[in-house]
Subunit: 154 residues, 2 copies
């Protein structure tokens, strides 16, 4: 018995930030802050960004890359523990074709100088998807953007 | 850097059924059929079962086990390809305490005598959860109940 076309993958990214857990949590929970580091990326035009940060609430991001493809990110929040844990399911679509579904777990813990963040993504990639490696690179870029935003002192 | 309290796990269950993919797919897509093999289990009282089988649609099951604990299952459908794939995110709660969030992928493929089903679950288990082994046993039981239901010819 061989698998169908879905490729499953898991990756973990660990970061430490020089800001307390409450501030790192707020960067995911506050729509104005999250929009800044997560949605308003270089090289892409933000078409739409809405979020309802509560368990069962949804988030939608629509982006256009280099004036061409439209990408869409649909999120549903699965579990939230303030300053400690955020779990969400999300799909990515390119031009209305869903390419993946993922479960992402963000865990925060205080350290002497700030916060340790562990990001775990468990994904199912469909036909024509980016795959685990490119997805992991994408999240590493985002978590660096979060670092830059925390350092900016905004 | 050590992890927080979340335990991540993945398991895959493969089954073959003596019914064509369309009939196995219907057992997941048709609320009356799914209620029969999935929700109305022995040893548990079904308190509520509703499902809206479309991408973004939700399913809710509430059960009471042995007259004691209330368990709750909240699902959001992430991807559906008729007779081929169903992907859903779900959480399990015991007495209103969420114990896990999971991404489940069901893949169907025709075989000479029926259907091969591959069930892949990627889960995050929280404080007080059952964990990957008990979860896998639970799904093996359910997929056997599906077998029994398909054989019953209903």
């Amino acid at each position: 018995m061989t698998p169908n076309t879905v490729v499953h993958g898991t990756f973990v990214i660990e970061r430490t930030y020089g800001a307390p857990p409450a501030r790192v949590f707020a960067a995911f929970a506050d729509p104005a802050i999250k929009r800044r580091w997560f949605a308003e990326g270089k090289g892409s035009e933000l078409l739409e960004f809405t979020m309802d940060f509560r368990v069962g609430g949804r988030e939608l991001g629509r982006f256009r890359f280099q004036g061409r493809m439209e990408m869409r990110n649909d999120t549903v929040y699965q579990d939230i523990v303030a300053d400690w844990r955020i779990v969400f399911a999300y799909t990515m679509s390119v031009e209305d074709k869903r390419i993946s579904a993922s479960l992402a777990t963000i865990e925060l813990a205080p350290t002497a100088g700030g916060t340790r963040l562990a990001f775990t993504e468990q994904s199912a990639f469909f036909e024509g998807a980016d795959g685990p490696k490119i997805r992991e690179e994408g999240w590493r870029t985002l978590l660096q953007r979060l670092e830059d935003d925390l350092r900016s002192g905004k």
